[in-house]
Amino acid sequence: MAVGLDKVKPEAITEERQLIVDGMDISGHWNRMFEQRVIWDYDTSQLDRVTDLPGGESLAWCYGCAKCTGVCPVDIVGDYSPRKIHRKTQMGIDLFESPDLWLCTTCRNCLRVCPKEVDMIQIMPAVREQAVLAGSVPAELQKAFEDTAKHGNPLGQPQRKRADWIKKAGAPVPVLKDVKRPVDLLWYVGSYPSYHPRGIDAAAAAARIFHALGVDYGILGIEEKDDGDSQRLAGEKGLFEMLAEANIAAFEKYTWNRMVVTGPHEFNAFKNEYPKLGFVRPIVHYTRLLVEYLDRLRPMLTKPLNLKVTFHDPCYLGRHNGEYDAPRQLLRAIPGVELVEMGRCRENGYCCGGGGGGMWLDSFTKAHTTMRLSERRVREAVEYGADVLAVCCPFEVSRFEDAAKSTGHDRLIVRDILELLDQALEGQP
């Protein structure tokens, strides 16, 4: 099947298996003859409810040009786009109770092209917050909120085990509490690299690379908590603020020059959101940091990998923060790597589906779309002939690996750029 052609059956023609109206059996395809087709009212109060919220205003600005629909990753696997949200709410459909509310991954591709700057990155969190306050949240997302509130990470792992991964690092990992001296870089590891087995692989690779390069750094260990940005975008702003306050206090406890982060979501949080809470410090994503070290790193990359690699731009590194080149520079520095670009790349990069809370809405999203965004992306990588799908966001490795399995493309290897660099490093097995 050609990529992108499988659209969901529109909701309007869903057939009720059993339906009796006024004593008449209109089950099955007979439904279609009797469905309510006329728009009988425009109850704009639903739109007003959205636009009355701080952050929700811009939904009213849509003049229906539909540019967003053309680039919305969700519309490709479902029936959803900001324009459609505007029209539906204008017609009186309640967004607060609609599954649409949870489908947006805040990937920012709509905002990139929107002539009216209808900003779903503000609208969705604002509306979701109200839904969260009203207790109307998909169960799996609520579980992630609860876990984050209770344990400081959405995986529900104990806080005291946050630094346990360093036992698997294969290189010394300095913890600031123990080193007791200023460091050049504070490495914010992040929840998935700290707890998720595939995230730990990337964190361990980073530790080995930093060690090989002689980077002067330290981590917060068990003093680190989830950045909370995706929870904010999913509607739990209070949780974000709570985590941010705790993190900022931990950051300020130690002396360091710059912060390096593993994940784009965390990068976005510390660069763009934490400053609103008074935390303004230099932040760098690991790809940019390693590009700075490239002159020293390149000679160490001696083991050719001989792979055709394609790169998936993380929404929160690329579109949200404008970094497209650093990851590619790193990949090109690896001997034997042939970099092939997918059709959707850079500014128009496709979304893995994990942003804006999508990471914790897997079954929900699955139920409302024809396929996962990650599955759609994996197919594209295969279509463009890649052996390896390279990523640099801790959400993505497990998402794409699962997607490769579920789409039958087991041959596709998914690796964090850190893992590929580590693999090419001299002396690594």
């Binding site: 087709r37 006329v38 728009i39 009988w40 009212d41 425009y42 704009t44 739109l47 007003d48 636009t51 205003e57 811009s58 009213a60 600005w61 003049y63 229906g64 029209r87 204008q90 017609m91 009216k116």
Partner: protein, 355 residues
């Protein structure tokens, strides 16, 4: 010796502006107006606020009228019509008749500016699809202007504040069956302006605009359309209304929501028809008396020369404003300035050549 007087026909915005400018240049101007008052349609039809700037129409027009009245070289003849015209550029002999009593006057003019304006399309005239004369609560932009000016926008049949108001665009415009294929240019903007005013005066009212395309050129886009949508939450729905029926004490407008691809039947308290512009009876009559060529729609034809947009088919006679086709006030005033300059320079040139 060519005449140095310039005749201006029409005391609306275009005629007034032309008279003011020519008068300020020290030339003799005779301004002829059929009505017993100056100010044209904005005054005669009680316009509320003018775009752009939302200034009171009455106040703005009084300023122009005052400037004309205060100018000693401008001679105003109210209640007068041009009934005959002979001669050529530099030497027009024009007969004026006092409306009603037939008293006449002969004038000698070096150039003429026609500024006889437009009239609103009569929505009851053609196919009656919107029931303008049938339903009290179906009104036109002009009717709405009056209510807005009085700060009393109500459901006409009840006298109470409306909850739901809609505008139907392109009434009498862009319609081959009616014979008006042209776009009236201002109705999208005026509807949006009125929608803003309704939202200001009746904050509880929901306002919808049903449209084919929103045609908002120039400042209308950013000064009217975007604020109407973004600040005043006017709802724009693509898909024009085809018919209006009465249901449960309300009006039910029926059409298709083209974006959703579904029929719509929407209850409304007030329906405002965005009627377009047609040439006024004065425009058609003056064109006949002066022997000016008219276009297919009976507006005064201007030769399609972009370098000369105020010229008519008769040298020495210029046209300004909506007499030459639908136009907003900004364009009308600019065209009046151009026509004034054209007429003045022509008379000066002829005088120079004669000397």
């Amino acid at each position: 010796m060519p005449a140095d007087t310039i005749l201006i026909i029409g005391g609306g915005p275009a005629g007034l502006e032309a008279a003011r400018l020519i008068g300020d240049l020290g030339r003799k101007v005779i301004l002829v107006e059929k009505r017993e008052q100056l100010g044209g349609t904005p005054v005669a039809e009680s316009y509320a606020a003018l775009t752009h700037g939302f200034r009171s129409a009455e106040e703005a027009m009084n300023e122009v009228i005052g400037a004309v009245r205060a100018n000693p070289t401008v001679d105003v003849r109210l209640g007068s019509e041009v009934v005959a015209c002979e001669g050529e550029a530099g030497n027009f002999r024009v007969r004026l008749a006092k409306s009603g009593n037939g008293a006449g006057e002969d004038l000698h003019a070096g150039a003429i500016v026609v500024a006889t304006g437009f009239q609103h399309f009569d929505p009851g005239r053609e196919t009656q699809v919107y029931g303008y004369y049938e339903y009290d609560d179906v009104i036109t932009l002009a009717d709405a202007e009056k209510m807005l000016k009085e700060q009393k926008f109500v459901i006409p049949s009840k006298g109470t504040a409306p909850e739901r108001v809609c505008f139907i665009q392109c009434v009498g415009s862009r319609d081959r069956q009616i014979g008006n294929e042209y776009c009236s240019k201002v109705c999208c903007g005026i509807s949006s302006k009125q929608a803003i005013e309704v939202r200001q005066q009746v904050p509880g009212a929901k306002v919808f605009i049903f449209y084919i395309d929103m045609r908002m050129y120039g400042y209308w886009e950013n000064e009217i359309y975007w604020p109407a949508q973004e600040q005043y939450r006017v709802q724009y729905v693509k898909g024009i209304i085809t018919e209006i029926i009465r249901k449960g004490g309300r009006l039910l407008v029926r059409g298709e929501d083209t974006t959703m691809g579904r029929p719509m039947e929407v209850p409304m308290d007030v329906v405002v028809l965005a009627v377009g512009m047609e040439p006024s009876s004065g425009t058609k009559e003056v064109a006949r008396v002066l022997g000016l060529k008219q276009n297919k729609y009976h507006f005064i034809d201007v030769p399609h020369d972009s370098l000369d947009p105020t010229a008519t088919s008769r040298p020495g006679i210029f046209v300004a404003g909506a007499a030459a086709g639908p136009k907003d006030l900004d364009d009308t005033m600019a065209m009046a300035g151009a026509a004034a300059m054209k007429a003045t320079t022509l008379v000066a040139r002829l005088a120079r050549q004669a000397a």
